[in-house]
Symmetry: C2
Amino acid sequence: MTLPARDHHDATPVLAIIGGGQLARMMAQYAVPLGLPLRLLAEAPGVSAAQVIVDSEVGDYRDLDTLRKVTDGCAVVTFDHEHVPTEHLVALTEAGVACRPGPGALVHAQDKRVMRARLDELDVPSPRHALVADPAAVEAFAERVGGFPVVLKTTRGGYDGKGVWVVGSAAEAEDAFAVAASTNVSILAEEKVDFRRELSALVARSPSGQAAAYPVVESVQVDGICKEVVAPAPDLAEDLAVEAQQIALKVAGALDVTGILAVELFETTDGRVLVNELAMRPHNTGHWSMDGAVTGQFENHLRAVLDLPLGSPDARQPWTVMVNILGGDVGRLYDGYPHVFARDPRLKVHLYGKDVKPGRKVGHVTAYGDDLDDVRERARHAAAWFQGDLGMESE
Amino acid sequence: MTLPARDHHDATPVLAIIGGGQLARMMAQYAVPLGLPLRLLAEAPGVSAAQVIVDSEVGDYRDLDTLRKVTDGCAVVTFDHEHVPTEHLVALTEAGVACRPGPGALVHAQDKRVMRARLDELDVPSPRHALVADPAAVEAFAERVGGFPVVLKTTRGGYDGKGVWVVGSAAEAEDAFAVAASTNVSILAEEKVDFRRELSALVARSPSGQAAAYPVVESVQVDGICKEVVAPAPDLAEDLAVEAQQIALKVAGALDVTGILAVELFETTDGRVLVNELAMRPHNTGHWSMDGAVTGQFENHLRAVLDLPLGSPDARQPWTVMVNILGGDVGRLYDGYPHVFARDPRLKVHLYGKDVKPGRKVGHVTAYGDDLDDVRERARHAAAWFQGDLGMESE
C-alpha cells in the first residue's frame, strides 16, 4: 500500500525561540534529531544557545519590533525564559504567530499575584498568602498565619532565589519594599510552610489537550537554587505523588499551558502538598529526564509546542539523580572530563558553554541505575569535581 | 578539599569535522551536551550538518589549502566520510593537526586492497580474495575458489553498494573493469561467501589505547544499503560474538584507529565470521546505540578523537531495532510525525534534514524494549510510514 504524497520537505515549520540560555540550547539539541529548523533571538552574541543555533540574531526581547522580525515566517514561538512582556505576546498572537505558551497562560508564571489568585479559584492547595502594601500589612499577615517568619516575594521578576525574602519581623520587610518600589512591582506575603522537602511535578501539554505527566521528583534547593534532583522522589506516598501529578495536570489544563509546565511543591511535615511556584518552560527539575526518561522534557516541549503527539515520560530505570554544576574557582570545565569520565563510564555530562562565574549554573550531570545511594554518590562526585570542591560531595 | 585552579573556559579545544552529511550532524548533536565547539567543512551550503553547526564553511575536501584553512587553530580533525585524500591527511598531520583517525589508519578504509593485505598479515579471517587485472584473471580466481559467482569491488570509492558487482561469468566482469579504468582504480575479486546473515562489530578507540566494544549486531542489507539493525544479533553464539568483538579490537589496535571502527562481517552458514568491510567513522550499524546504549556511538566518537575516557557501550534494554528511512514518494517527512508519534509514544525518530530522493538515507527510527517481535514491528512500521509505503513493513 502506497500512502498519498505529502507536501515538500522545504515547508517544515520553523520554530522561533526567544532567549539564548541553556534551556534554548537544550531545545536545540533535541531539534537536531527531530529535523526541526530553529530561529533564535539571543540577548548577546555567543550566548549558550547561540553557539548551537545557526539561524540566530541578537536583540532585545522587550522590543516588539525585534520580536516581530525574529518570528516572521515562523509557525510557532516558544521561550527560554518567562520575561517577554505580556502585551508583546498578545500583539504577536494577534498577528497570527502561535505563542506557546500563550500570554494568557504565561502571565501566571510571570506574575505571582495572578498565579495565586487563579490557583485559589481552582482550589489548588497553596500556602496562605496575601498582597501586602507595607510592613504593617506584613505584621498583620504574620498574625493571621501564626506569626513570623513569613516569606515575601516580588510579584514579578524573581528567579533562583532572587526577589525572595524570609523575614522575622515587620522591620526586616523594609528591604523587600525598597526593591519593590524601585522596580515597580508588588509584594506578596506567604506563610513559611513547615515542609519536609520540595517536590516538582512536570507535565507536557499540547494545544490539542494531550498531556504527559513525568514521575514526581524530589528537588534539593541550596540558597534558592536547584542543586540536586532525585527521580522519582524517594519514599513518596503514592497518594501524594498522584495528587501532585493531578495538580500539575489540572493547572496545565485550566491555564491552557502549551509546552512544559513545572509545578514546584512543598511536601509539608503534616503530609500535604502545596504549590510553591509555577514555571512554563523546560525546568531544572526536569533535566534528569534527558538521560533518565524515554522522552526528555526538551523533546516533549518541542513536540508539545508544535502540537505533535507527546512521547512517553516514563523513567528508563529505577533511579536517576541530576546534580547541577555551579560555577566555582575552576576555570576550564573541559579539564574535568578526564577524571569524571574515567571514574564513571556511565555518567552523562551536560555543559552549557557559559563562562564560569561563582554560583552560576554552568552545567549538570546525571547518573542512573538500580541503587539510589550509588547513583547519588556518582552524580554528586562528578558535579563536585567540575566545581573544584569535593567538600560539597557529602552535602 | 578545593582542587587546583584550571585553565580558562575559552581554551576549550575546537574539533574540526570534514564533511557535512548526517554523521557530522549527529556528531554535532552530541557535541552540544559535551560543550564542544565544532568547525565544519561542508560540501555545499545548507547540507545536513551545516544546518546545525554555527561555525561552518563551504569548500572542497580534496583541496589541501581549504583543509588547512578550516583546521587552522583546531586541536583535532575528524571526518564524516573516508574520502579525504591520504596525502592531504599526511600533510595536515605534519603541520601539527591531529587527524583522527590518522592517514595510516584511514587508508585501510579507503583502499580495499590495502585493507585485505593488512588483515591477511593480522590473520584476521576474511573471504578469499585477489587483485584481478582483467576478465581472464577473474576466471582464474573463480576456478580457485570453487567457481562463479564471485564478487568484484573497486579498491577505492565504493559505498552503499556502489562499486560492487556480483558476476556469474568472466564476460559479466567487463562492466567492473570499464568503471575501474574510467576512475583509475583496481578491481579486487572476492569469493561469494555463503552467509547466514551480516553482522557488525563496532568499537571506539582512543589515541591512548582505551577501547570500548559495542554489542555485536545483526545488519540487514537491501541492495547494498543497510536497512535494519537488531542489537544484539539474535541467537548469535557467544563464542562468535566474542570472536567478532576481538577481531574489531585487534584491527582497531593494529591499525591504530582513533574514533569509531565498524567491522562488517559475514556469519557463514558453516559457523565462522569473516570480515567484509571496515569503516573508520560512526556507522549506520551503530545508530541503534544513540537511543539503545548507555553511550551512543557519536558521543564515544567525540570522546575518542579528543582522547577523553570512553563511555560504557552497554545496551540499556534487551532489544533495540533501528530501521533506516529511505527517500520515497512522500514529500515532507515532518507530516509523518502525527501518526508515528501517536501510535508509539516510545519511538525515537532521527531525521537528517536532507532533501527526499528515492533510495537516499534521510533518517532512521529506533525502538527498544523487552520483546524483539514487538520492537521490530514498531520500528518497521514507523520507517514504512515515513517512506510512504506500508508494503515494506513485513519484509
